[in-house]
């Protein structure tokens, strides 16, 4: 194991930042900690780095490459830490920034002057900044600064690389370039890495595995595909990508969720149970007539055709606006205009019931619908 976190809890006063978190990161893996602000992702990263100490607890522990490092101070952990706001040494040149970690080594392990020079230059080449060695941080753009910070962290040949919202302070275009570049760099270096982000797209694109966090807990761990298509609970469903939510109840094997009516044989009791159904915008089919599929009418409010997919905003009268995505061809075929009435049929519905029963897939008119029961774990919130 590259990094192993066992039963870590951290409270700041009355606020519980982390509640009994355990996590394993394989050697050479690139893992994203994803969650909204306040979910504890940065705290977890800082605890791994040693910049924060976890609450003392029975059975808690922290291991790098199977070595217990829980009691080691930051400087002895061999971590490379990249800060959101770079934290470059402002009075040092780019070269000196990268050389810092080598120069502060004890004399026994410190490389020679020439070795330091060579190592720094090769690192600057790696981050494509060898021409900027003499510049000061204030003379660089945000993207360049973050690359210097990365080179500086890599200079000490860290056991693990930790990045705290590394692209959070950059503008959209640079962010996109830099994250693809980070992915390529990781493929080259294979340093065990953990990065924190609140941007789901960034996490899904860059990471080998995504760790979704909420309210101090790990909610789901999995590949980008897994967390996106098989979310563990409502929070993950809601947090990853746009989603339409239908609120309603299930009774006598039927679900009435706003305009949506579904069969739900799992709950045949006459006792009504609250339920929520989640449908992603691209899982909604739009037609200009009722075509035999289970559907409900809606009125087109707004059409945004900028981009490869057309984004429709629909109203169903009593509900919050509904978002649907269709292709440009479909838009032209149906000749949609604002104010038109259309018929919406969901292709894939994921339903969560407020009852502690096992997850089941049910309701297929001719396509599958996922019905999932609220896991009891979340009831404690």
């Amino acid at each position: 194991m590259g990094i192993e976190v066992r039963h870590i809890t951290k409270t700041f006063g009355a606020f519980a930042a982390l509640r009994d978190v355990s996590l394993s990161v394989a050697r050479g893996e690139l893992v994203a900690l994803l969650g909204p602000s306040g979910s504890g992702k940065t705290t977890l990263l800082r605890i791994i780095a040693g910049l924060e100490t976890p609450d003392p607890a029975e059975g808690s522990g922290l291991f790098f490459h199977d070595k217990d490092i829980a009691r080691r101070p930051v400087r002895d952990r061999g971590v490379g830490f990249v800060f959101q706001h770079y934290a470059l040494f402002r009075h040092m040149s780019v070269f000196e920034n990268v050389a810092f970690g080598l120069r502060v080594k004890p004399r026994r392990t410190r490389p020679s002057r020439q070795e330091i020079h060579n190592r720094v230059l090769s690192l600057l080449k790696l981050v494509q900044l060898d021409s900027m060695a003499g510049r000061y941080p204030s003379q660089l753009s945000g993207g360049q600064r973050q690359r210097v910070a990365l080179a500086r962290a890599l200079a000490v040949e860290p056991q693990v690389l930790l990045l705290d919202e590394p692209f959070g302070a950059l503008d959209a275009k640079v962010r996109l370039e830099l994250r693809q570049w980070l992915r390529r760099l990781h493929d080259e270096l294979h340093v065990t890495s953990v990065f924190v982000t609140h941007d789901q797209e960034e996490a899904l694109e860059v990471a080998d595995r995504v760790v979704v966090m909420n309210e101090g807990r790990i909610v789901q761990v999995g590949s980008a595909e897994e967390v996106f298509h098989h979310p563990a609970d409502e929070f993950v469903m809601n947090f990853l990508g746009n989603v339409n939510v239908f609120h309603g109840r299930v009774q006598n094997g039927r679900a009435q969720l706003g305009p949506l009516q579904l069969e739900c044989t799992e709950h045949a009791s006459s006792q009504p149970v609250a339920a929520r159904a989640f449908v992603r915008p691209y899982e909604l089919d739009v037609d200009d007539h009722a075509n035999g599929q289970p559907c409900f009418p809606a009125v087109v409010q707004h059409i945004n055709a900028a981009g490869p997919r057309v984004k429709l905003t629909l109203t169903t009268g009593d509900e919050t606006p509904l978002h649907a995505e269709i292709s440009l061809e479909r838009l032209h075929l149906l000749n949609l205009r604002p104010g038109m009435t259309v018929y919406v049929s969901p292709r894939d519905v994921r339903m969560f019931l407020d009852a502690a029963q096992p997850n089941v897939h049910t309701w297929s008119a001719d396509r599958p619908i996922h019905v999932e029961f609220e896991p009891p774990r979340l009831e404690r919130r």
């Binding site: 780095a49 040693g50 910049l51 101070p73 930051v74 400087r75 002895d76 952990r77 971590v79 490379g80 830490f81 800060f83 706001h85 934290a87 470059l88 040494f89 402002r90 009075h91 040092m92 810092f100 970690g101 502060v104 080594k105 494509q128 900027m132 510049r135 000061y136 204030s138 003379q139 660089l140 753009s141 993207g143 360049q144 910070a149 500086r152 962290a153 200079a155 000490v156 640079v174 370039e177």
Partner: protein
């Protein structure tokens, strides 16, 4: 014509409002500049010129002869000694206090912040009296000190203590806001790269605040050499022994030795001018460094040769 009639007054008002606003601004500006320059001239420049004219009234030879006097030399020497002790002591204290306040959260932080400002709020005479009450013969520790044959009041240690008390906010006050603004991320980065606390301080923290530190030291030094009130209370005015330059000026003046008084005073004035020059140089250098930094950034982004 009817159609534009409704619009015309709007235009007229539009044009007239800025003009009167500008006129008012110019008028206010001259009043403010003139007022402050006049005030400065009356209160600062005229007395400064007076000091040098009075000092040189008897010619350069008499002026220089005033410094040949043993008591004057002793006073100059004492002032330099006091500054040489008080300034480094406050430098260390200031850095420690600023570090503690800016980088750590602890109980009593706001109390410490307030206490640092205390010498600014208290009259220097009171500061001096505090030490007389503590170390004087009738004071709390006086008898014990007398037993051990140690003198604080009416001796050099008392003068140093009083000077330190009066000057201790200068360094800390310069550093605290800067260090708070800079935060501790750079230190955390240094630690994560394997630096020890000591390396972190010398290589990261100190270089980041060096200009503010220098600025604080300059101000601290100026005040340490010029302090009158607190020192006057604890010194005892023993000629050749416990007289600092400001006290010596007063004694000479009271003895109608105007040339001597103004000569020593002119030294203090020169010190003030040198301090101002040093302070401006520090500020100018600091600004120039910042400017060159941002100018280079502007040029590098403008030419577009830099890959992002």
């Amino acid at each position: 014509m009817q159609a534009t009639g409704a619009i015309a007054p709007v235009f007229a008002a539009d044009a007239s409002v800025p003009r009167s606003a500008r006129a008012e601004r110019r008028w206010t500006r001259w009043l403010l500049i003139g007022g402050s320059l006049g005030f400065l001239g009356l209160v600062l420049v005229v007395p400064l010129i007076a000091v040098f004219t009075e000092a040189l009234r008897g010619g350069l030879r008499t002026y220089l002869a005033s410094f040949a006097d043993a008591d004057a030399r002793a006073a100059i020497w004492l002032t330099l000694t006091v500054a040489a002790i008080a300034v480094p002591a406050n430098l260390v204290f200031g850095v420690m206090a600023a570090w503690a306040i800016a980088k750590f959260d602890f109980v009593g932080k706001s109390v410490l912040t307030t206490l640092i400002d205390l010498p600014f709020a208290v009259s220097p005479v009171v500061s001096g009296l505090i030490y007389v009450l503590l170390f004087g013969l009738q004071g709390w520790l006086g008898p014990w000190l007398a037993e051990h044959n140690a003198r604080v009041i009416f001796a050099v240690p008392g003068i140093v203590l009083a000077t330190m008390f009066v000057t201790f906010p200068f360094v800390a006050r310069e550093l605290i806001p800067l260090m708070q603004e800079q935060g501790s991320e750079e230190e955390q980065a240094a630690l994560s790269l394997g630096a020890s606390g000591w390396q972190c301080f010398w290589r990261v923290t100190l270089p980041n605040v060096k200009w503010a530190l220098l600025y604080g030291v300059i101000l601290c030094n100026a005040r340490a050499m010029g302090e009158f009130g607190a020192v006057s209370v604890v010194s005892g005015h023993i000629r050749g022994q416990t007289n600092t330059m400001p006290l010596h000026v007063e004694i000479l003046y009271n003895e109608y030795n105007f040339v001597g008084a103004f000569a020593v005073a002119s030294l203090l004035a020169l010190l003030a001018l040198a301090t101002l020059a040093a302070k401006s140089a520090v500020e100018w250098r600091h600004r120039a460094l910042r400017r060159s930094g941002s100018a280079a950034l502007a040029s590098s982004t403008a030419c577009g040769s830099v890959p992002n």
